[in-house]
Point group: C2
Chain length 588, copies 2
Amino acid sequence: MLLKILIKMYRTHTCGELNANHIGQAVTLSGWVQKIRDLGAVIFIDLRDRYGITQLSFNENNRDLLEQARKLGREFVIQAKGKVVERASKNPKLPTGDIEILVEELEVLNESEIPPFTIEDETDGGEELRMKYRYLDIRRNPVKNNLIFRSKVTQLVRNYLADQGFIDVETPYLIKSTPEGARDFVVPSRMHPGHFYALPQSPQTFKQLLMVGGMDKYMQIVKCFRDEDLRADRQPEFTQIDCEMAFIEQEDILQTFEGLTKHLLKEIHGIEIADFPRISYEEAMRRYGNDKPDIRFGMEFGDLTEAAKGKGFNVFDQQEAILGIAVPGAATYTRKQIDKITDWVKRPQIGAKGMVYVKYNEDGSFKSSVDKFYSQDDLSEWAKITGANPGDLILVLSGNLDATRAQLSALRMEMAERLGLRKPDEFAPLWVVDFPLLEWDEDTGRYHAMHHPFTAPKPEDAHLLDTEPGKVRANAYDLVLNGNEIGGGSIRIHDKAMQAKMLNLLGFSDEEAQKQFGFLMNAFQYGAPPHGGIAFGLDRLVAILGGQETIRDFIAFPKNNAGRDVMIDAPDTISQEQLDELHLRIVE
Amino acid sequence: MLLKILIKMYRTHTCGELNANHIGQAVTLSGWVQKIRDLGAVIFIDLRDRYGITQLSFNENNRDLLEQARKLGREFVIQAKGKVVERASKNPKLPTGDIEILVEELEVLNESEIPPFTIEDETDGGEELRMKYRYLDIRRNPVKNNLIFRSKVTQLVRNYLADQGFIDVETPYLIKSTPEGARDFVVPSRMHPGHFYALPQSPQTFKQLLMVGGMDKYMQIVKCFRDEDLRADRQPEFTQIDCEMAFIEQEDILQTFEGLTKHLLKEIHGIEIADFPRISYEEAMRRYGNDKPDIRFGMEFGDLTEAAKGKGFNVFDQQEAILGIAVPGAATYTRKQIDKITDWVKRPQIGAKGMVYVKYNEDGSFKSSVDKFYSQDDLSEWAKITGANPGDLILVLSGNLDATRAQLSALRMEMAERLGLRKPDEFAPLWVVDFPLLEWDEDTGRYHAMHHPFTAPKPEDAHLLDTEPGKVRANAYDLVLNGNEIGGGSIRIHDKAMQAKMLNLLGFSDEEAQKQFGFLMNAFQYGAPPHGGIAFGLDRLVAILGGQETIRDFIAFPKNNAGRDVMIDAPDTISQEQLDELHLRIVE
């Protein structure tokens, strides 16, 4: 048997922990050369690792060492042995700012080329360059801290749910392609030529089968995959906190995951939040034009349709909906400022035809772009409806109801952004409930599941399934935080006949339904308990809890908007041998 | 805003928690009908959920309810309200055995067909049937408890490593195919026709890049994928506890993960284990014929090559190696028993040509199958070499060294199994270290990496790389538990030139090396720190910690030996539309 060998010991301490209490100690540090200040007779080096920065000092008492230090470059990896001494000029901003290491031995562990961008909190590297050299980007505090933060959040989530009796179960990644939902990534099977696995868009059916299996409280933090045409800040692979419970109703789920969210806000930000508000989908659309409203600020919609019609203003008279918001304190906006807002809503991404404004002056008078058609009394009525106060600016859009809601919702968010009302350190969660079960899709001429095909109708609405399916509401709910849907779920169907009916409504023939979801419907025949669940988008949740909105900054190795990993250069071609083994040919 | 609605409350308690302290309480339980005993005037039902079993009782005081109960079937899902009462005949084996529920209200939440196998600890269902109805199999205690156990192990692992400063970082699943190692599963890219992602065989290069990125201590419990021709108990997707550390040496890693393993054994089994033994690969092969020896028992190899040659026994005289083990207390085996062992080693899976035995009788005499050639003194020498005591049976195999070691190792394990020496509740971990860096592959006529192409040679052996690469040892190590490799890792190369040289040795041209691993070698140019890591096979670790060896029993939804999920019937065909979008055609 061998004996344990002595550890060479790359470091006795990290670069973040030494302070005045350590003065006089002999220490060994390892890390990266962040900065070199060569003052001739003295050289100072900022040595950096994951934990912080410590100053190394070299002087003429040891000329060899001074020369060695002079040859170091940025991002060299070095090991330094020396004594902790008090600094001549202290740096109160640095936890280690009271001390420095008077170096006695120096070893270069690895050299470095000059990095393609500066390893600083504010770097000179652009997005694409930073992604190509992501391993250097991760050395920067903002990225490093985001990854550490993410790790902390997942640990909090896992332990909280474990304490609540949830079992962490891994579901398979090589599953079966299903036509409902987004497009699947598929994986050709070599052992079964012509057959494919699919990567899961979510573990939905498996977690339901775990409920049928009696597992009763399931959780998993799991990668999911969607082959969608990519949009900014959407990733082909993303992470879900996936949960399911049996013998529960909607209320149990809301309370459990409200508890989780409160726990996170408390542990991370020290914020105690009262019970989350709940509003119905219909109410959210009416008040905010949006099913994921940011309620950190007001500017709720006022419905001016009745008040504004029939006054001779042709544009309004023809419209289905006339909706307005009161922008606080913006009555003093100049014509030029307002024109810019008008241009903004007319951009193709928003698509409004035009915008009407009403300045509610501090003196109580009104000045609008439609003064020709509306009296001061009319406008006073608008102010009442939109909740405007003197000093506010009322902005009004009109047109088809759905489109106008979407446009005004975008405008509401934009104005809040401009006014600094979307404070990253303020957290305003709410539940949106009572979603419609189905939505009509004009393109395909059929209903689509608003949540997914396994969502149960509200029992009191189920009788409408045959007659007015569009009116059926679901026991489906979203958890919204600061204008983002961070979680969504539903009570599921647990009855074979109801599941078959739902799949028929979604355009599946009986045969297709059986081929795709037969295993689930069969399972429902063997004592499936009532169940439901929720899934949180971890990438977004972490970003929002971190006070940011770009999920890519919280993913270690994200893909770009074309779905490419520019660092490893994937996807890439594969060999003819691989294609042959898979019985595949590429068609140009 | 909506008010919180009242929870219907499927249950006030689980089926595992009621006892004499609850007598008199009104409770609601939900669960599955495990068993119905209809005594005419009284019906008893065992109600089961994840937490246990509680007896429900119905009697003639409520005839309607009695009739309802009579109509229930096995695995029906029901809700029962009633009062906790003391049982007439208590069941001390059941935590709830002192009480029963006198049911007052009964609701069928879902009916059930007769399940295809019994939901009992010992079921009548065969493997294939249980896999097809895995959701029913999971209701059985053995499977359910394994999944709960797995969840507990991963929680212990994560929290232990978090306490040690490890950061949980998710690495991507859609990466790039590399020709080294096993075969990749690939994922065709729709947005980049003719290009493919690959699913990771391990996050190896990403975790190394995290070290280059300064992350310093990384951990992840992560799915990995290998498209291998499947063997029994091997899965195309499997789970790894994946770890990497920077600024460390082998010793740091051994101590860290020995600490983790001790922690698991302590927390799970209450076992305190002293420092793990360490043996070199060479020593493991010499003493056990195997680099993952089970050291719960002895039967170490004795090398009889010198002692047994030159005595006129032709069979031995021609062989490279003659190796024996002493099977404790087996000298009394009959001729028939020994013949059976001989037949066993001659099976094609083992491949021995024959076996020699020596009975070391209790009276000190020897009786062997080669008495014609060897004296009592000769055999006494064999006993000394194999460590045999009176009453033992010495079994001897001979032939080519490598083959003989493998055969005798298999025999050693088989004899230990037969003698009950492989006790599932005993845990004997050890480290095997100093693995060879490379192994020669006759088929391809080149060296293969014994661990993987990123493993560093031992500094003291590096000079042999150009002259005798086969003799170079690596700073590579395996953690072995009860005859299974549960973890393995190495100190990595962190120098570009060394990595290039290694890839050349493995048959990569400079161009291929650059195309496949250029991103990693480039990263090494920007200040890569010394680093190393380890990965544990979670499926096997959990199985062994659970006192079992079949990993499939610890996976919620495993694939069969043909890589199929027989429950969901995957892999499956995909639509022509999907193939067209991917620019692929299937070649017959």
